[in-house]
């Protein structure tokens, strides 16, 4: 009974939203890249880089806005590098992705040791400002006044609109489905693949920045596999923004549920709840909930 009350409460809702945001940003990031035919399994790495970039530049410049912009720029630079490898030099995308993940995790640790002589975290940075007035609403104000969370709401519509209702989206998708056909109609396929990778860098940067701003610092390992869960959410969501939304809500919901179960001390072991989203992922992958079909030429260099 107690549990039902806590699940229906606004604080639970706010918690699901907080857990949902990094997953959703990461999953949409990966989706834009894969829709353009470029597999990017380095979402985790990109989130690490931007989280560190945000904390580092905010600390160095003592200006949150500059830190924010620099974190995005750093991620875009790394995205360009990734694009250079997989689009221009046609390296196997999985290998490049694994390489980037390892590189970024290692680089982050190296930089914090090098700059702050601490192998685990950066000094504390100021809060990211929230929208005034809205933040005073009890229970949900903090969540609803967070710019990045609000942006991720908007992203539900933006990504659906951009991918499926604009000329740009059609061309981007043609790069992922049938690049030869697109090329024959005069579309610059490799340019659109680059756009996909850059949008991916931008969105994953927002995810990383959100994580760091939520903690007011960067600490080693803080992304904690969220980038990989984002990839899983994209696959469960079958590369469609609306389905991705539900997949991310599911992951966030079960994580929040697990915390609630632990705190209220029920007879159901929290580990079982912890297991559920991953069980569902596996069930989806073996085809219980319908076949998942990636863009036709996803991962094939062009």
């Amino acid at each position: 009974m107690n549990i039902i009350v806590s699940i229906l409460s606004l604080t639970f809702f706010a918690q699901v939203l907080r857990l949902f945001t990094p997953y959703f940003l990461g999953a949409n990031a990966a989706n834009f890249s894969e829709r353009a035919g470029v597999i990017n399994i380095a979402i985790e790495g990109f989130m690490i880089t931007s989280a560190l970039g945000y904390a580092l530049f905010t600390y160095l410049t003592n200006n949150i806005f500059l830190g924010f912009v620099c974190a995005i720029l750093v991620n875009l630079l790394f995205s360009l590098l990734y694009a250079l490898f997989v689009i221009k030099l046609k390296i196997n995308q999985i290998v490049a992705g694994v390489g980037f993940n390892l590189l970024m995790a290692g680089l982050a640790k190296f930089l914090i040791v090098f700059i702050f002589q601490s192998s685990s975290n950066t000094p504390r940075i100021p809060d990211l400002p929230n929208i005034p007035y809205i933040q005073d609403i009890p229970y949900v104000g903090e969540v609803l006044s967070d710019y990045i969370i609000l942006f991720s709401f908007a992203l539900i519509f933006i990504s659906n609109f951009v991918l499926f209702k604009t000329k740009f989206g059609l061309r981007l998708r043609s790069a992922g489905e049938n690049p030869e056909a697109g090329e024959s109609l005069g579309i610059k396929i490799r340019l659109y693949k680059l756009y996909g990778v850059l949008i991916c860098g931008f969105l994953s940067a927002l995810g990383g920045i959100w994580l760091a701003s939520n903690q007011n610092s960067f600490s080693d390992g803080m992304v904690a596999g969220r980038g990989y869960i984002a990839l899983a959410a994209m696959i469960i969501g079958k590369w469609k923004p609306v389905n991705i939304l539900f997949a991310c809500i599911m992951f966030a919901f079960f994580e929040a549920l697990e915390i609630t179960f632990q705190i209220s001390g029920t007879f159901i072991p929290s580990q079982i709840i912890q297991m559920l989203p991953y069980l569902i992922t596996i069930l989806v992958l073996i085809g219980f909930i319908g076949k998942t079909k990636p863009p036709a030429s996803d991962g094939i260099p062009y």
């Binding site: 806590s6 409460s9 604080t11 918690q15 907080r18 857990l19 640790k109 914090i112 040791v113 702050f116 002589q117 601490s118 192998s119 685990s120 975290n121 903090e142 994580l211 939520n214 903690q215 007011n216 610092s217 600490s219 080693d220 390992g221 803080m222 904690a224 596999g225 994580e255 929040a256 915390i259 609630t260 632990q262 705190i263 209220s264 001390g265 929290s270 580990q271």
Partner: protein
Amino acid sequence: MYQKKYYLILLLILISFSFSCKKNEVKNDAQQKNAVKVGLVFDVGGKGDKSFNDAAYNGLVRAKTDFGIDFEVIDPGDGSDRESALRKLASNNEIGLIFGIGFIFTEDINNIAKDFPGKKFGCIDYSVDTTKTIPPNLIALEFKEEEGSFLIGAIAGLTTKTNKVGFLGGMESALIKKFEEGYKQGVSYVNPDCKVLIAYVSVTGDGFKNPSKGKEISLSQYQNGADIIYHASGLSGLGLFEAAKTEKKLAIGVDLDQYKEAPGFVLTSMVKMVDESIYQTIKEFKDGKFKGGIKSLGLKENGVNYVYDDNNKNLFPDKVRQKVEEIRNKIISGEISIKK
């Protein structure tokens, strides 16, 4: 072509032999020379975690300024290189004493201490297994966290206004359960009606470095009515302090005095004298009085304690302090026995 392959294999065998020979030489060398340097390998979280590892590092730095010893530290990062880090330090012939920080080292340090009988070893938070004997050149430093946590529980139980307190654990493991058990018993000893909300970040070592989840758990506990949360979760605990600041409620630190993490919102910290024990071990080592075996450090030995100073004095009424000191004496005299 085939011949080439055989040559390669032969070469590889030779190389591996040459490595195994080198190790033995080093070992003999070390026994002859007078090695005074101290080596130390960090736990998950590493240097700069503002908690456990930093406490160990402080001990080293203090020993360096007081005794002029030199030290070398390795931050292994991920699990697998822990053993090799220990081995690397042990085979350095300038290093005579090697510390492993954390219960994760228990197995590895046991084996390595046997392989390097000429070197001395120390392990903080060694998890003692009564069925096994430990090598004579290893000192196992074990803290009675349950005793310190009992006092913390008493403080929380006496201070809470909502009759609900929280506990945030890192990895669900025997060591952290000791904190939990002591805390729970301390709370119910002074305030039987008080509820303890318990949650762990994870069942793996990653539970010590996921501050985002630590924050979410803490927020849930606060929003479910807890007004004081005690953590034993390494870096994940940084999330607790963030949550305490947003919710304007109290948090209790662990291992080191964590007042600085959220000034005004840290009721106290359960301090483990990791620095002191390392300092003392180095001192004994330097004076040639190093003795292996198990060393249990509790309230009686001043191995665990709680923080009471100018910073948190106003959060801490005198009445609470008196009561807690009474309980301390009862634990030391054995009047209160704490189940692990």
